[in-house]
Assembly symmetry: C2
Homo-oligomer: 117 residues x 2
Amino acid sequence: MTISTPKNIFSNIPTELPEEFFETLLQQDNIRIERIISKGHHNAANDWYDQVQDEWIVLLQGQAKLEFYEPASIQLLNSGDYLLIPAHIKHRVAWTLENSETIWLAIHIFPNAGNEG
Amino acid sequence: MTISTPKNIFSNIPTELPEEFFETLLQQDNIRIERIISKGHHNAANDWYDQVQDEWIVLLQGQAKLEFYEPASIQLLNSGDYLLIPAHIKHRVAWTLENSETIWLAIHIFPNAGNEG
């Protein structure tokens, strides 16, 4: 088996970002590793993510505000900040830096088959 | 459910690092997210990792050389570089920066029960 050459998570940023940019870096049975690039993007006012999977995120560059529905709170994230968003915890991206790219690494951990919550 | 406060992956670095430092950030059914901090640490000359799990790594700070057994190769990793080390691909850390900390994020993806390769 050949080892693939490393890629760089801070490179290959699209020059234009009309939408938030989602890129799957690894897809396995019940895990997806994803890079997300934001530049001023945020969810609409009442647009909440409500996911079946746990999502562990680390902000690698930039700055963002993550809003939680219940209990209501807003969390500022700086470079290096990480946290787990458990399944079905409603959340939205409330704000990201407008003048430079914010880079997130997200690890989506899906329930095993037959084990979905 | 309460959302935990974010922690920072570049913070809480031990002041002394007599050994390489391993810290589990998240442990789920078949996934472990781990922070590794190296400072000049490397595997002994013939000390190879041969793991049952896939390991996806991203180097977040510092610099390291990763050596593969077959085909023999050495890969220099800089900040932001990521790659997948498939299960049973023998590898070792051949070198890390001596004067400052190298921080790795490792996602260990274990085979599902009954599905081990």
